[in-house]
Amino acid sequence: MTHPLPGRATPPNHVLFRELNGEAILLDLQKGHYYGLNEVGCDLWQLLTADPDVAKACAQLQAIYQVEPSQLEQDIAQLLADLHTAGLISLDNS
């Protein structure tokens, strides 16, 4: 199933982010759940923390990793959808 790329994605206050040598973990303070992020996910989270504009974050990741834009967008849309389902990020499709 493909997910549309949301307009904005905002890390909520109840989620802690910790970078660990190239990967990262997210810890949900409300539920006590955690989620692991790989290097790209870690970069995406940091970009969204600075600016929740998803298209901008995609462009910056594209410059870093030099992958096919459509593939990158698809992967990011999937990751954001997973994080949203887990209650780890707020999405705004406007």
Partner: protein, 359 residues
Amino acid sequence: MASRYNQTLRATWATQPLQWPQLANEASHNSFGPLLYDAVQHHPAIPGEVQKQLRQLYLNTALANTLALHELATILQALAQANIPVIVLKGAALAQASYGNVALRPMHDLDLLLPFAHIPQALSIVATLGFQLLEPIPFGDRSGLFWNELLLVKEGHKPVYLEFHWHLLDNPYYASRPGTPELFERSLPLQLEGQPARILAPDDFLLHLCSHSWHHHSGLWPQAGADIAQLLVQNGPTFNWERFLAHAQQYDLAYAVQTTLSQVVTQWHCPLPAGTWQAIQALRPGRKERFFIYCQQNKYLKPLRTIIALPSLRLRLAYLWGILFPSADYMARHYPSPKPLRMAYLHRFLCWGKLLFGD
């Protein structure tokens, strides 16, 4: 530190085949699992199961420490707003500032040093953040001298433990060796989780780790060995050995320093600057420290250390009274089964007798 651990491992591999499961279990038992994972995660020979086991320890440590450090940031901010001076001790200071990766250094609690005069206010502040005292202090007003720490907990998905200390060591003889004001004077500023914080100067930090290991754990406990090695490697040539050695002698911590550092140097292959080892060996334990060493090795004399350390007969009697007959509140927490207070005291004496003299 991982590379130092790796060096030690390579030296072992050269002489004997590696038993991965045993190594992982041993590391896990001694709280080195995350450190071992960091060192060997990409090793071609590591079995999948062992890698998975070590990675889980690494992630568990990262999660527990992330939560604890998040609480620490809130505590530091609240105490700073009330102008309460604080020094972050042990794991919380080491995990980020020394190891550079919070997943590498497991910590069981957050240790903070603050002047005793600020303890009541600090307790009220952290109570508003959800931290509750685990047990009352048995000595009331005299706790500043007789006691050195309070344990608090914040319950949640995973409990977070917090310890307030007003001296570095639990023996009253060391209440001013070194004194809290001078530790604050020499302490260093740093940012912890985005909050301004202070940690001990490296030589005070090393003195604390050595003396805590000896006095509290009766020798070098494995995690202290890793911490000391990490501190030495991190500070390298800038470490103030002259001041450290002078304080070790001055504060009657010569033997604690000699014992722990000799083990760290051997076990962790920590190089010391030329002449330092000889200078450490030249330290001479004073009369009082020799007495503590003697008590430490004798289970019957061990409880007497504190009494003997107190400076006057009046204080010794007050301490003894406090130990023999703690407050009703303290007894209720420690001996919760319903019984009259005098029976609880009797029960306490019997427990002590059993501990000292066996069945």
